[in-house]
Amino acid sequence: MRDPDHELPPVREDPEQLEQTWADPPGLVGWITTVDHKRIATRYLVTAFAMFLLGGVLASLMRLQLSRPENTLFGPDFYNQLFTTHGTNMMFLFAVPVTQALGIYLVPLMVGSRNIAFPRMVAYSYWLYLGGCLMLWIPFLLNTGPDMGWFSYTPLAELLYTPTKRADVWAQMITFTEVAGLAVAVAIVVTVLKLRAPGMSLNRIPIFVWGMVVQSFMIIFAMPAVMLASTCLILDRLANTHFFDVDRGGDALLWQHLFWFFGHPEVYIIFIPGTAMVSTIVTTFSRRHIFGYLAVVMSLVSTGFIGFGLWVHHMFATGLPKLGESFFTAASMVVAIPTGIQFFCWIATLWSGRVKISTPFVWILGFFWVFLIGGLTGVMLASVPLDLQVHDTYFVVAHLHYVLIGGTVFPLFGSFYYWWPKFTGRMMNAALGVASFLCFFVGFNLTFFPMHLLGLHGMPRRVYTYPPDAGWTTMNGLELVGVAFMTLGVILFIVDAWSSLRAGVAASDDPWQAGTLEWATSSPPPAYNFLHPLTVAGREPLWDNPPDQPIVVGLRSDVRDVLVTHVMDAEPDHRVEFPEPTKWPLLTALSTSALFVGSIFTAWAVVYCAVPLFVSMTGWFWPKHPGETGTQAWPIAHRTLPMPSEPPSGRAA
């Protein structure tokens, strides 16, 4: 393929050796031990999509049950498990992991690195996440699925009112997924701060990457709250403590405060990556840089901050002081401002760009409509009187699905279509993609728009049936039709993906003529991501880099050598050797899982299982072979930044 006249200069990288160095062992061993961020992300994506389908099945069962009054399909006990497992699954096992999975795959590529920071920890996080999935679904199949609602309010979740293991299952599923989410968040933040391509200063970081950074920081500050809360809950249930026990000086509202201190930021944790995907796709298909880069980034960051000041608006019905309610009403309305700024930036980008309609872009158009409605009903709900009126009705169900499906699922499908060629090296079918979108969009609005009206007509959430004369029959029936359309849309997507994998047209490196670095390598990328890591001269390097932009040479190809750069301006700082494939993350995840599962039954499991956990973590840490320098000292004072060589340069072979 390569023209000998256009040969690269002789540099140290040996492509075959590089391939060998970064390759995983073949077969099952490689699958278990891999630390390649792309392989880990792929299994995250597949698992999260499977969770999406399972959660969708539960949702369909609920709609089926409610499609006519006094339906006897399911009883109240099973229905309680249905909606709790559906909500828990979608929030903890689908929405957060799937956006983090995209980050695991794309962030290292977008910043031009050879791997994600702390790849073993990311591998570990996947196994724990898988443990969380099993932790929810196996008990559900054994009729021990959680049945207290996805926010597991006390005192309902206390031992007195939930004497079965259902609440414990929920609490430890939280621990699994939150530890996994926190590990990924730290890995993504460090990747973005320290592994960026030379030249990618803070003001050149792609917006999708900014979105992942904001999400990761929010996870770091929000998820400890729910871990603390669920730990206290399980202690109350198992060790006879009294955190939420009003008779012994505890307080049930403490649970709500701790839970929503996490639970409200969770909404932004879920949709901030969504809006960042929108910015990316809008940029590419408008054929111009995004309008108001700084404004968009600041909107993401300020949403991240304001998101922590809203949690009490979930508690308006609990009788808090009026002044507090007013504050949280104001804060809840303020958060609409940064989102509004983003909307105007997208409009300006589209308006002044040369828009090219394509399958990913169509999903983004759907996002505009759905997410806008979700945002507007959010502003309505921020007002205390209206919130009290529709509290615990289907109006809230409609609002949250418009926000979460609009804010995340529509951009996600757009992203699947957008990055699919990069992931698989195959194109998807444009016609099938648009058909899938139309079905899903129509089905979504048919299913969820009537819920606004049902809520205003007084239909409460979480009821397993209703009387025929309530006036809710028609709309509930209509919603079942919507479910059928949505299901068809998802099936079309799966058919499209499947046939693309079987016989799709081969994708070029950059099928959409996009500007970010993941399109500068092959589709799919090699294990080492880039043969020669690029340097960056603008926000969209493939559009902005001048023809003589330097490439990075001099990374060793006989070890997993990765370039580390400075935080602010991404100047080269030092090289670091990355870990080889290893079995220890899996073993550590197994011993961690034993501890979590055991602690449902006895608090002593924490003590017993600490031993295998210690052994596996020591095995993980213990060096396998001496590295590059042996015991020789590094030139510690060495901070000289190599300058781009002036042409003609090239190293002697």
Partner: protein, 221 residues
Amino acid sequence: MTSRQSAVGSRQSAVVSRQSQSSVRTLDVSMLAPGGFGHRSLMWWGTLGLVLIEGTMFALAIGAYFYLRSRNTYWPPQNIAPPDLTWGTLNLLVLLASAVPNELAKKAAEHVDLRAVRVWLVVCLVFGLAFNLVRVFEFLHLNVTFSNDAYGSIVWLLLGLHTVHIATDVADTGVLTALMFIGPVEEKRFVDVQENAVYWYFVVFTWLPIYGVIYWAPRII
């Protein structure tokens, strides 16, 4: 291989075609050090992430303490004495004193001085074990059990959370000390020693507010 190279190849060949045929500008990083200390290293930032997570956890637990306090008329409840000051204060002194060998171990690591690192790591380990031992007596002198009421639960939770940290940090330090004696000792292990010291500082500093809350909040606030 060809298809994989084509990504970089085609892009760079475009570069080449506009210039003289045999050259691409390069940024040679082969002279850079194979590692870095302090905030230059990935580990430092990873440790910082852990500190943020754990710090948030402690802050929320302290918030829960004062929230529960605001919901109770008597704090501690009637007939329950505040925790005895002796052991907690002794532990405060031990922990503050441990900052000295900790700093010396950190400095030794930064100077890649294996002998000094070994000495000070062992001293740190002794301090850590002493601290965990005194902690047992602290638990015995809280004057309340976790199952008594919400006050007992939150006090035990605060002390328990901090104990998990000192226990794991002693385990970490033990493994690290063993490694520095057994080997293979590489330069990057000195970064680990340095990061271990940074994390120990975090554990020391979080004890100050938690000590204040457990021992002094029931007395003076």
